[in-house]
């Protein structure tokens, strides 16, 4: 539903407060044929993802309503609080349309909270199921806050399969992935006190990262998403 009385100058949290700098501070995509990638904009670090989508050569579109979702060729589920975003998906009526698009094979990237929402089964840090609602598009269990609370949050250089140089990976109250289904590719792991743990996975058109590429300004995972959109066979 388009708002009946839209408010002028609505801004995405984090954007400039100077009106004449325009709403998004993202360069317009040079190519009119560039794919449109949505960022679920209910809560979280939406702006950073929009910027990286533009850097990856696509057009970034904030998605808060079903009509906006219908216009995109790919989708990012951003970092944020997975509990909150899950509740808001349900309350805004976006949950079913998002699930329907995922079922059609819409390419999607989830980071941190977004990855938890994509999972088959979200778990507490002690391994018990959280019972929270999720999309179930990715055949993994996501263990929330697996590395610990905020003081255990960290950054590290990580090798990611298929990328030549390491990524600077920022983990914030991050999950890891466990109990992977047969169709799930592991693209990166991180060393922990209890051994290597899986932090980037792919299953067909679904890509998920436990860390936040959008916080280290590295567009390479977003490029993988754009590539998946460009090479997708029209159904």
């Amino acid at each position: 539903m388009q708002a009946a009385h839209p408010v002028p100058g609505a801004r995405i949290p984090g954007e400039s407060l100077v009106p004449d700098r325009g709403p998004h501070h993202r360069p317009p995509a040079a190519d009119g044929q560039a794919p449109r990638i949505g960022v679920l904009a209910l809560q979280g670090d939406v702006l950073e993802h929009l910027r990286l989508i533009e850097r990856a050569g696509a057009v970034g579109v904030p998605v808060r309503r079903e009509d906006e979702l219908a216009t995109v060729d790919g989708l990012v589920l951003p970092g944020g609080e997975s509990t909150t975003i899950g509740l808001l998906l349900d309350r805004t009526g976006l949950a079913a349309p998002v699930q329907a698009r995922l079922a059609e094979g819409l390419p999607v990237l989830g980071t941190c909270a977004g990855a938890i929402l994509l999972a088959r089964e979200p778990r507490q840090h002690d391994g018990t199921p959280t019972g929270q609602w999720c999309l179930g598009a990715l055949d993994v269990a996501a263990r929330r806050n697996a590395f610990g609370r905020q003081v255990a949050s960290f950054e590290a250089d990580l090798d990611v399969a298929g990328l030549t140089d390491p990524m600077r990976a920022v983990f914030i109250r991050a999950p890891w992935f466990e109990d992977l289904g047969a169709g799930v590719e592991v693209l990166a792991t991180v060393a922990t006190d209890v051994g290597a743990r899986v932090v980037v996975v792919r299953q067909g058109p679904v890509l998920a990262s436990a860390f936040h590429p959008e916080l280290s300004d590295d567009p390479r995972l977003h490029r993988l998403l754009v590539d998946a959109v460009v090479t997708r066979d029209p159904a």
Partner: protein
């Protein structure tokens, strides 16, 4: 690609407590509502309503205001009980300048510390050196200079001070406008005037430069202090807040669960009056507000800190 299940992990040192990690958690809270709670049960209500984090307290600001006396950090038992109750981040308040309260709260493994004027200041000259901590801090500000001073001390997030415990949004409005106006003023200055502007603001030149170039604070800016209704929350978002702290406004109202959900809905869809209107229906009585100016006995909490 074949499945490299045996992919060797890269094993560089993990850097904790970096500015990027501290500020990053605030980025994850954007567009959200952080709620004051005093019990594990209230924390669960806040989480179920869609709060992105909770602030663990012994008393909400309205009660601190009513009770008088010295307000200090919460009992660790209160904080731990709230941590055990929810999976969202848990914040806790310490007194301005009280570095040992901050060390204690960090030892409890809270996710964010609020160096807060709502508690009784412990130091009238110095705020905490927040760079010295692994846990990130949020601090209050009434204008741009104050915000930049706190950021230089290591604050990884800023909130407007407003006037906590009053249910009156007017001071939050004043502070959000002051911060926004300061940013817009800087952005319009010729470069050579930024140095005098830094002197005028009492803020470091490099941060002044950064704000002038980007048109925003270097960290996430939330609003706080007197937000009591869905419309208040949406109003603050339209004034440029990245998210909202609600203190006494939820659990001092007639129907906390409904009001909490409504404030979350209005914060998410702050630019859609139809949603805010729907969220505002049938919430029962809001907290009883105080007009600080009309009450000679009321202390201005926002005057604490500098």
């Amino acid at each position: 690609m074949s499945d490299p299940r045996s992919l060797e992990p890269s094993d560089p040192p993990h850097a904790t407590g970096t500015d990027r990690v501290k500020r990053g958690l605030a980025d994850m809270l954007k567009g959200g509502v952080i709620m004051d709670v005093v019990t594990a049960e209230q924390a669960r209500v806040a989480e179920a309503a869609g709060a992105v984090a909770v602030m663990a307290l012994e008393r909400v600001p309205a009660d601190i205001r009513a009770d008088g006396g010295v307000a200090r950090m919460s009992d660790p038992e209160v904080i731990n009980a709230i941590q055990d109750a929810v999976s969202i981040p848990v914040m806790a308040k310490v007194r301005i300048g009280h570095l040992v309260e901050a060390q204690v709260v960090q030892a409890l493994d809270v996710d964010y510390i609020d160096e807060s004027e709502v508690l009784t200041p412990a130091d009238e000259a110095h705020h905490i050196d927040k760079h010295a901590f692994e846990v990130p801090f949020v601090c209050g500000a009434t204008d741009l200079g104050e915000a930049l001073r706190r950021i230089r001390e290591g604050a990884a997030m800023v909130r407007s001070k407003g006037e906590a415990g009053t249910g009156n949004v007017v001071e939050a409005t004043r502070h959000m406008r002051a911060i926004g106006d300061g940013i817009r003023w800087l952005a319009g200055l010729p470069r050579e005037e930024r140095y005098a502007a830094a002197k005028q603001l009492g803020a470091p030149v490099d941060l002044v430069e950064e704000v002038a170039e980007t048109g925003r604070l270097p960290v996430v800016l939330f609003t706080a202090g007197g937000i009591a209704t869905p419309a208040d929350a949406a109003f603050m978002m339209q004034l440029g807040a990245d998210g909202v702290f609600v203190g006494s406004g939820i659990f001092k109202s007639a129907e906390p669960e409904r009001r909490a959900q409504a404030i979350v809905a209005a914060t998410t869809s702050y630019d859609d009056p139809d949603v805010v209107a729907k969220a505002s229906r049938g919430l029962g009585t809001a907290m009883v507000g105080i007009e600080v100016d009309a009450d000679p006995g009321a202390e201005r909490l926002a005057d604490r800190g500098w």
